[in-house]
Amino acid sequence: MALLKVRRFDSIGLWLKTGDSLNFSGCITHSCRTSSSVSDKKQSLLHGPDLEDFVSGDLQDRSKWAEYKGNLKRQKGDRLRLPPWLKTEIPIGKNYNKLKNTLRNLNLHTVCEEARCPNIGECWGGGEYATATATIMLMGDTCTRGCRFCSVKTSRQPPPLDPDEPLNTAKAIAEWGLDYVVLTSVDRDDIADGGAEHIAKTVSYLKERNSKILVECLTPDFRGDKTSVEKVALSGLDVYAHNVETVRELQRQVRDPRANFDQSLSVLKHAKKVKPALLSKTSIMLGLGETDKQVYSTLTELREAGVDCLTLGQYMQPTKRHLKVEEYITPEKFQYWEKIGTELGFLYTASGPLVRSSYKAGRHIVAVTGWAAETGLKTTTDMDGLVS
């Protein structure tokens, strides 16, 4: 049977020559080599999808990820393939283009574009009920640090801050009529206070124009400078977020050497100390080679530091210049971490392969804090103008 296959497709194989654009010829030659893989293929053809499945369009049951046979842990010299639960749609559509144009016209940057977030199609597209959401990035699109997981541009001397940015950003966001907005920024070690004043001004202008808006800031660590942390914490925001990115043991490897776990933890602790009514939030990427024990001890440390909200997501290699993915964590494992997070006492734990720090942030906060009741925000999925 195998030989027959070769003869039948042989002419095509020759015509395709090195045919590296098609797996097809490669598959045929591979299956000839071992009889066991031929019988495996026969089995999978027998029990696999039928014509009806293809026609109905419902090929994969997303809950049965256990059937995925690909490799999830990286071996030496290898590069893992993307598992099916991480495949996302290519961003296209009216909403996506409209948002892109609006941002360009207002000279605003988003971390969605700069860090190549896989959720960009979903968040910017808006979907059936929700309106488009974006996370604005302040202080430009160029960072002074080069972390090995992040594809945001890096430079020793980024362009100077735009003094009109706080006002323009506040005006734009207020005009949009949003209920919840996440502001993030790049690291600016070249500025004396790390850009804290700039961020604080944006938040206060925003609150001036729209006092009902809920603001979350995902800040840098300001090199541990407590006065900068205070400036931002007291600017009027509602959620203070700062990401520790990974477990304590991998900090040196994953983040820029100027960042470290204790510094980040001190930022979160200080923000809470300065304004106890603030909610503090952090985020960790899984799949960089950490062990379960390391993750658990990191979560415990974070809870002991008083961090309220936690998000866990899968690390995905943005470009070839960045760290390879060591392991793809299954959705079931993410559910497990969500359970652990809740048990440890976090106000909410958002955990999933495509979850990012500001993914659906508004909905989570509103759901757990009851601020919805006070400000009259809708809590169903068809929230208008909610920015995550």
């Binding site: 030496k76 010299g77 160029t142 960072c143 002074t144 640090r145 080069g146 972390c147 090995r148 992040c150 541009k153 890096t154 430079s155 020793r156 980024p158 362009p159 043991e249 991998l250 040196r252 490897q253 820029d256 050497p257 100027r258 080679g289 070839k320 210049r321 960045h322 760290l323 390879k324």
Partner: protein, 162 residues
């Protein structure tokens, strides 16, 4: 001679124009540093050996005048997380360790390079940042080591104990 002046003048003019039209640009810090024969056809091919974090030896050929960062990126060499800042002296991910004799022959270290090098993990006396080192003819056949990551160090210690 006249050709060289014309070329440098041309390069400067291009860079001024670029800044004027596009605004401040992220010019890699080694752009004006590498000296290589002007005629591309005459550039020699040099063989370089890398030993990556897993201990594997990777052999590649490079043209004179390319930086080591360029070689790793352009040839897609299997070195994990290399060149995060794209050669702007804002990170230390292109940290490489050379042999003593090779290290001595290299050019001087810029202050900015020293600042970034000081932050890198596994710093040695013969460490340099790959984005600042241009390949030259005399580097043919040299062996360059990529510093091992903390995880690997621990894994090795554990397996040694066993």
């Amino acid at each position: 001679m006249a050709q060289n002046i014309a070329r440098t003048a041309g390069l400067r003019a291009y860079l001024y124009l670029r800044v004027a039209l596009r605004g401040p640009t992220r010019i890699p810090c080694r752009a004006l540093m590498c000296t290589a024969p002007d005629d591309r056809k005459v550039r020699e091919k040099v063989t370089i050996h890398f030993i990556n974090q897993d201990g594997e030896k990777i052999t590649t050929s490079a043209s004179e005048g390319e930086t080591l960062l360029d070689i790793v990126l352009n040839k897609n060499l299997d070195i994990n997380g290399f060149g995060a800042c794209e050669g702007t002296l804002a990170c230390s991910t292109c940290h490489l360790i050379f042999d003593e004799d090779v290290f001595k022959k290299m050019g001087p270290v810029l202050d900015e390079e020293m600042d970034m090098l000081d932050l890198s993990y596994g710093l040695t006396d013969t460490s340099r940042l790959g984005c600042q080192i241009c390949v030259q003819k005399w580097m043919d056949g040299i062996v360059i080591r990529v510093p091992q990551e903390m995880n690997d160090m621990r894994r090795k210690k554990e397996s040694a104990r066993k």
